[in-house]
């Protein structure tokens, strides 16, 4: 008697199942960026808001048409210090990395140190703790992000992404004021009529 079993129908069926799963499921889980916005209720006073030393403060202004500007220091001196840049590694990142060079070095060191260690819950926790310490240490820049109404969501995400890449721990998303609008208008950024 031939004990060989014909597997062809089985393969047919499994093939169908595989096809079904391939078509009906998504493998990629979407990524996410966690942000914590300052609360209104803790009412942050203006003094506290300006606590950031002028030398460490960087304001990023994102306008429409994918244009982006930044200035360092106090808002009163914005006009002289305003620089146009672009998104990506040659523009904004270059500037922020230079500004945050110390923290960047620390992070590199930290990464090297942890490369040789085992990965477990504890070391991960320690790593994250030290990373956030470095990111918000004294002397690191404070970034104020202001996005115009006619800029798009991608612009905001790109700026937030730079914060991650450049290891900047202190940043806030602030309101885009009329003064900022006037500033950008002087550089030829167009705004839609209200």
């Amino acid at each position: 008697m031939n004990a060989r079993v014909d597997f062809t129908p089985m393969v047919d069926m499994i093939m169908l199942l595989v096809t079904f799963f391939m078509l009906c499921t998504s493998l990629l889980k979407p990524q996410t960026m966690e942000i914590a916005m300052p609360s209104d209720k803790q009412d942050i006073k203006d003094e506290q808001r300006n606590q950031a030393k002028a030398s460490e403060a960087v304001t990023i202004l994102a306008g429409g048409e994918n244009r982006i500007f930044y200035f360092e220091g106090k808002p009163e001196e914005a006009m002289q210090n305003l620089v146009e840049t672009k998104y990506g590694k040659d523009g904004l990142r270059k500037f922020l990395l230079a500004k945050n060079a110390n923290a960047q070095k620390e992070v590199e060191k930290l990464k090297k140190e942890f490369e040789t260690r085992d990965i477990n819950e504890e070391s991960k926790k320690e790593y994250n703790q030290r990373l956030s310490d470095i990111r918000s240490a004294k002397g690191t820049p404070t970034v104020i992000i202001k996005v115009a109404d006619n800029a798009n969501y991608d612009n905001l995400m790109k700026v937030l992404d730079e914060m991650l890449i450049c290891n900047i721990g202190k940043y806030v998303i602030d309101n885009f004021t009329d003064a900022d609008k006037a500033l950008l208008e002087s550089k030829g950024v167009k705004f839609p009529q209200q």
Binding site: F7, T32, E34, K89, V147, A151, Y153, L156, L160
Partner: protein
């Protein structure tokens, strides 16, 4: 004359290794996959280097499509039911009459007074995608986003509910700002922005 015998070849192919491989593939897909949720509107999320995974349970997702219409969904039918009941109690009206039907929709997003009319439609998803009147209002005139988020947080538990915003790349910042402002008004200051993974250019 000697008969020349043609050797008959056995055409039977052994399928066992093939079925082995197939079963392995099948197992892989079954274990790694999550089912695609039906989304009436296409949302192209921006890329980011962030590698944080999205939380899987008790998730309230706020969808913002490129024209600024806002939709919402919760990750399981039970949460949908509880939220609908909560909205009815909060508003003191039958905002959602057919809760059983409501709990099955993949996504909702109409002004509160149109929820029932929308549920009665045949092509609900088409309505959300095409009708300019669809979308949860979120501006200074009427801010129903707060109503839904409050209800969801009440129904699921304030500390359990996670909020995620899934917005299209090209959405004007104005809409995002309004949504963030509404969330801030009701004291929801921690949320996730859904992105797709993109490596940073070196």
């Amino acid at each position: 004359m000697g008969r020349f015998k043609v050797k008959k070849q056995d055409t039977f192919i052994d399928m066992t290794p093939m079925s082995d491989v197939m079963v392995l593939l099948l197992t892989f897909f079954m274990l790694t996959a999550t089912f695609v949720k039906e989304e009436p509107v296409k949302v192209n999320t921006p890329g980011s280097v962030s590698e944080v995974k999205i939380p899987t349970s008790n998730l309230l997702t706020i969808f913002i499509e490129k024209n600024g219409k806002i939709f919402m969904n919760l990750d399981n039918p039970n949460a949908m039911t509880l939220t609908a009941q909560q909205v009815n109690t909060d508003q003191n009206a039958d905002v959602v009459k057919d809760i059983a039907e409501f709990s099955k929709v993949p996504m909702f997003g109409t002004p509160l007074n149109q929820v029932n009319a929308w549920l009665a439609l045949d092509d609900r998803n088409g309505y959300l995608a095409k009708n300019p009147a669809a979308g949860i209002p979120c501006d200074s005139v009427s801010d129903e986003l707060k109503v839904w988020v409050n209800a969801a947080s009440e129904a699921i538990g304030e500390d359990k509910l996670r909020i995620a915003i899934k917005a299209d790349k090209t959405t004007p910042y104005k809409v995002i700002k309004n949504v963030m402002k509404s969330l801030r008004d009701i004291d929801k200051n921690r949320y996730n922005l859904i992105t797709s993974l993109a490596g940073a250019e070196q």
